[in-house]
Amino acid sequence: MTTMFSGASNLAEGVDRAFIFIFATAFIFLIGIVALIIYILIHFSRKKNKSPQQFSGNTKLEIIWTVVPLILVLIMFYYGWVGFSPMRKVPADAMQIKAIGKMWEWNFDYGNGKISKDLVVPLNRNVKMNLYSADVNHSLFIPAFRVKEDVIPGYNNYLWFRPISKGTFDIFCTEYCGLAHSGMTAKVIVVDSLEFNKWLADLKVAASGPEHPGLAIIKANACLTCHSLDGTKIIGPSLKGIYGTKRTVVTNNTEREVVADDEYIKRSILDPNADVVKGFNKGLMQSYKETLKAEDIDKIVDYFKTAGGQK
């Protein structure tokens, strides 16, 4: 289970110290202010105090309550700064991992074509994440490590950390990036070095063979945000092995069964709301009439027919 508020990286201590100082100050002031208000309301209430005093200022007090908060905020600034500055000083020996954010998933590239969906890192090793975006702004956020940096197209942003405890932690995307922004999550798994080396060695090199042109089109048009190719249901039905199967659809409010042939798949892409798959909502998928050329759709159909995500 994920630990929620214990720091799991070397950077956590500095950040938490700043939190504690600010919250402690806030707490003291808030208590003081509330106490003073209650005192005033009781002691100077109109029932008790019928002759208000008429003073209207006091230079000494003004100076005190300008200088004291000033000193306090300078201390806050100081803690914030020292907590932050190590985040920008990457140790030279840091291991480099490329994090690729795209709508709406994370890919972690360990080099040599080894790409993983989860971030696996060795305990007590410095890790530098180089952040790349394939489309819009994202942001890589690992709460347990107290790190976050935006992933912006055209920018070489980075962050680094050294995990100091083993476990599995959340990764969130914290820059709004469209429909499935809240689904753009992943995990960090901190393991010890040996285990890490073994895991990396076993990590399959991403298939480098030529991709089916239909699949490329499917990827390029973000179909995969709503449709999986592995059987899981996302926003739309999974398209795994769809070709030739029987589908229960609702046409004009009547249920019927159709076979997913060329015709049906084309219709689903060009006029998705004509046959709405049972259990799914109408109107989510928009027609791709404007976006996809006829030959592209043929390629998609061919992909389902031949490769079809069969395995």
Binding site: I37, G57, F84, E149
Partner: protein, 537 residues
């Protein structure tokens, strides 16, 4: 709008009747009321969206709406609340109604321009709504319109941008009008430092409206150009710079948050002396802190971009300035407390709201400091912590300030009194619901719950559910408060000219004020807050 009873003396509400006399009036008080009705309507509709979002989040997964709807919803909620409700908000309503009276003038400097800017505002607001219902998707970019997403999203972003642009224009015109009014129309003898503090806060606000709004105007135009002409200032594929957009956006939008809060500070600054029957403590420090907030507020915009990949130097620089801008706010809080200290404090609804303003604003302000510190902002940026921060400070600050002003000036504006008991009850429900709704979001934010999330990890379930319950309580409170006010506009007891024993000029004329405010322009001979006949029962 208000039935003129046969015996009632002529006042601005009844000296002319008929809808057209309202829609074409250049009387600042009527324009202020038009704004009030428009803004209340928009506020309620956007608030309902907020409630719906909370209901969606009562449990993880999809409950009452899809992700697309949720995203469109927080976008519309944010756009309406920021651009249509809180930025014009207090200045357009109470500024319009009270500013000329408080400085002893018969109207603002450019009454026709004032009416014109109201219609610009309405046009912008309608465009904003239209973007929702026009053919195609509702915009789903968030109120910040960050590129490249806003340049690519297939929704009606251009209409929404045009709406924001138009609303900005209305805001500029209002600001312009107020600056000139304050410079040129003060009653004889009212020197700058004899001016009450609400006009002072409006003066500081107006400068921000005037000088910051055009920047966002041109920025939004650039995004429109980007979408329609494909120029690509912000599109990395064409060599543009997405972070530059963020700079331009926040150069406006940070100062804009002070457009929201400064008039609210002005309102409570009027309320504390009246209900303590005691001069304001530290008049000059309050004046200069308003000006300081307005000025320094221009230079801290980068604190919204601490994680955007800005240079290291600018990150700590902006952090430093952010802390400095907190000092004038601190000065104000302490001066308000000292104003009450030693007074004869009468805990009427306006004061109740003003005191809750201090409480909620302090929480919002201190969490603002948490966000201003770079190290901690890294953790809580774009999480529910930020959402809680700005709801505390906007709703708890500006919102409660607005309610305070509403309860304070209500008898003046309508010449009638609301039910005090129900006002207190409404406040109690509102205040409880408010804290239940937003406080858990601080905790979830620190734990890492990101904002603009349709769905969430089940470990946040408890906090989210409490928060939803809070939203429902808050909803009840709002209904109670608003129905009390609406009901008594016509049926309330007739209010005297000066029910709270205030000393500023608006209390020296009949309620409701006559059409031209003053039969004779008053000559001012002393400071604004002199209570020489201490009120004793």
């Amino acid at each position: 709008m208000n039935n003129p009873s046969p015996t009632a003396p002529l006042n601005f509400l009844n000296h002319k009747t008929g809808l057209w006399s309202w829609l074409s009036s250049t009387d600042h008080k009527r324009i202020g009321l038009l704004y009030l009705y428009a803004i209340t309507t928009f506020f309620l509709s956007a608030a309902v969206l907020g409630l719906l979002m909370k209901i969606e989040k009562v449990a993880p997964g999809e409950t009452i709406m899809t992700a697309q709807t949720y995203n469109a919803m927080f976008t519309l909620h944010g756009i309406i609340m920021i651009f249509i409700v809180v930025i014009p908000g207090l200045a357009a309503v109470f500024g319009n109604i009270m500013l000329p009276i408080m400085i002893g003038a018969k109207d603002v400097a450019f009454p026709k321009l004032n009416l014109f800017s109201f219609y610009v505002y309405i046009t912008g607001a309608c465009l904003g709504l239209y973007s929702q219902f026009a053919h195609g998707h509702s915009p789903d970019t968030g109120w910040t319109f960050y590129v490249p997403y806003s340049a690519e999203a297939s929704s009606n972003v251009v209409i929404a941008l045009t709406a924001a642009f138009t609303l900005g224009f209305a805001s500029i015109l209002t600001g312009l009008n107020f600056i000139v009014t304050i410079h040129r129309m003060r009653a004889p003898g009212m020197t700058w430092f004899r001016m009450p503090l609400f006009p002072w806060s409006l003066y500081a606000t107006a400068w921000i409206q005037l000088l910051a709004t055009p920047v966002v105007g041109i920025t939004l135009l650039m995004v429109i150009a980007e979408r329609t002409l494909h120029i690509g200032f912000f599109d990395p594929a064409l060599g543009g710079d997405p972070v530059l957009y963020q700079h331009l956006f926040w150069i406006y939008s940070h100062p804009a948050v002070y457009v929201m809060i400064l008039p609210a500070m002005g309102v409570v600054t009027e309320i504390f002396p009246t209900f303590s029957q005691k001069p304001v403590f530290g008049y000059l420090p309050i004046v200069f802190s308003s000006l300081a907030i307005a000025l320094v507020g221009y230079f801290v915009w980068g604190h919204h971009m601490f994680t955007s990949g800005m240079s290291y130097e600018s990150r700590w620089f902006f952090s430093f300035l952010t802390f400095l801008v907190a000092i004038p706010s601190a000065i104000k809080v302490f001066n308000w407390l000292s104003t009450m200290y030693g007074g004869s404090v009468d805990l009427q609804p306006p004061l109740l709201y003003a005191i809750s303003f201090i409480f909620l604003f302090t929480i919002g302000g201190f969490t603002g400091l948490t966000l201003g510190s770079v190290a901690t902002d890294i953790q809580v940026h774009n999480t529910d912590f930020v959402v809680a921060h700005f709801h505390y400070i906007i709703f708890g600050g500006m919102g409660f300030g607005f309610f305070a002003g509403m309860h304070y000036w209500y008898p003046k504006i309508y010449g009638r009194m609301y039910n005090i008991r129900w006002a207190n009850i409404g406040w109690g429900i509102l205040f409880t619901g408010f804290n239940l709704l937003y406080f858990p979001m601080f905790i979830m934010g620190i734990q890492g719950m990101p904002r603009r999330y349709f769905d969430y990890d089940p470990k946040f379930q408890l906090g989210q559910t409490i928060s939803t319950i809070g939203a429902i309580i808050l909803f009840t409170g709002l209904i109670t408060m608003i129905s009390n006010l609406i009901y008594h506009v016509r049926r309330g007891a007739i209010a005297p000219a000066n029910p709270w024993h205030g000393v500023t000029l608006e209390w020296q004329i009949p309620s409701p004020p006559p059409h031209e405010n003053f039969d004779e322009i008053p000559v001012i001979t002393r400071d604004p807050y002199v209570f020489d006949n201490p009120y004793t029962k």
